[in-house]
């Protein structure tokens, strides 16, 4: 299974592309204004479908993934999640340092 974008309904907001943990959604590759999910990178996480503001992302049951590529994509997603988590923690820590500084100023 892999997710697919209904190109007629898509408004090209890029929210799915910015949210995809395997970064398998492209916009500039075809030379047309179309967001396309590269099926070999899709891990069926459903994040793109959940964030889509016009509900134009569904899944293609007929697609059979290559197990090796699927595992590679999942590993890529794990790396993405670790990195994202680290960024969030760093930002949170930095915010607490700023808050402590503001408090000290009073």
């Amino acid at each position: 299974m892999a997710y697919v974008i209904d190109l007629k309904a898509c408004i090209n907001c890029s929210l799915c592309r910015r949210s995809c943990p395997t970064e398998c959604i492209t916009y500039y590759r075809t030379g047309h204004r179309t967001h396309v999910i590269q099926p070999e990178g899709c891990i069926d996480c459903d994040i793109c479908a959940q964030v889509c503001p016009v509900d134009c992302i569904t899944f293609d049951k007929s697609y059979v993934p290559d197990p090796i590529k699927l595992e590679a994509a999942k590993e890529s997603a794990r790396g993405w999640a670790r990195k994202r988590r680290q960024e969030q923690l760093t930002a949170r820590e930095a915010a607490h340092v700023v808050i402590a500084g503001i408090g000290a100023g009073h």
Partner: protein, 304 residues
């Protein structure tokens, strides 16, 4: 009597209190911001959201966060209302002009919503400076302002890396690029309505979520409302870009180029996204070279 468009071109945006962009505030106000929010470098949507989450009881941080969003809404009113007049000179559908008028009204409502949220904290308009790098309204300025809101922007990233930045030079370069694109309806729509407003979806969703997390119902609801409007704005932009580029690959490439340039300008891209953009720009350069060679050969043929 001169045309309205000419009158407007010679009339910079004015409002009361006047634009007071962050890049131009004096030392006393910088110190004041340092005392209230920890420094000017935090005065953008992304950083302010983190600060509000870290200290939900600090109302001053909420005031600053909402003010930073509100100043971009004011710029949006100016940008879209100018389009209503300027685009009447261009070969665009009448319905597009009406859509720009509708968007102007949307931006007014967004500013009103932010003002209401700000006042619920005891804040007032003008208490905090504008987040825009320039001093003028207009589409270029709006692009810079909301770009910073949506993703933190290249300026912030370079500051984070300890590199020197010249905000004025950067603002001038971005404004020049923005102006060039804003003279073309396809590029302007692709850059502002589709790319910029698409990026704003993340800003408003994130701000609404902050409201939910800190138990601020007004913040949560108002920015969820804004988010829904942004979806409509992206839809409007995409609809007209499709209509204006239909059956013309060159125009479609122009729309893509405008979108790509705006994404590069906004920054905050992952390595994979950066690679995709680089490949796109490289292909565009190749196309431009081929077109030049083609023109040269045609010209040479003409002289023979």
């Amino acid at each position: 009597m001169s045309k309205l468009i000419e009158t407007l071109r010679n009339s910079p945006s004015r409002r009361n209190p006047p634009y007071r962009p962050l890049a131009r505030i004096d030392e006393a106000e910088r110190e004041e911001l340092k005392r209230k929010i920890g420094g000017v470098e935090h005065y953008n949507g992304q950083s302010m959201r983190e600060l509000v989450l870290a200290a939900p009881e600090n109302v001053e941080l909420r005031k600053a966060m909402v003010s930073s969003i509100m100043s971009a809404e004011f710029a949006g009113i100016d940008a879209f209302s100018r389009k209503v007049v300027e685009w009447q000179e261009w070969d665009v559908p009448e319905s597009l002009i009406l859509a720009m008028a509708r968007q102007t009204w949307d931006e007014v409502r967004h500013a009103q919503l932010s003002k209401g949220v700000l006042e619920s904290y005891g804040g007032v308009v003008g208490e905090y400076p504008d987040t825009l790098a320039g001093g003028q309204g207009g589409a270029g300025a709006q692009t810079q302002g909301q770009g910073q809101e949506a993703g933190g922007g290249p300026m912030r990233r370079r500051q984070a890396n300890g590199q020197q930045v010249n905000p004025q030079a950067q603002a001038t370069a971005q404004a020049a690029l923005g102006e060039a694109f804003m003279r073309n309806p396809i590029a302007s729509l692709s850059m502002t309505n589709v790319s910029l407003e698409g990026g704003a979806l993340t800003l408003f969703k994130g701000t609404s979520e902050v409201g939910h997390k800190v138990g601020d119902d007004l913040m949560e609801l108002c920015y969820d409302y804004n988010w829904a409007d942004e979806v409509t704005h992206v839809s409007i932009g995409d609809y007209f870009v499709k209509q204006l580029t239909e059956g013309d690959p060159k125009k479609e490439r122009l729309a893509l180029m405008a979108h790509a340039r705006h994404e590069m300008m906004r920054g905050n891209l992952s390595p994979t996204q950066t690679e995709e953009l680089k490949a796109f720009f490289a292909e565009e350069l190749e196309r431009a070279d081929e077109a030049l060679v083609g023109d040269g050969q045609a010209a040479a043929g003409g002289y023979r």
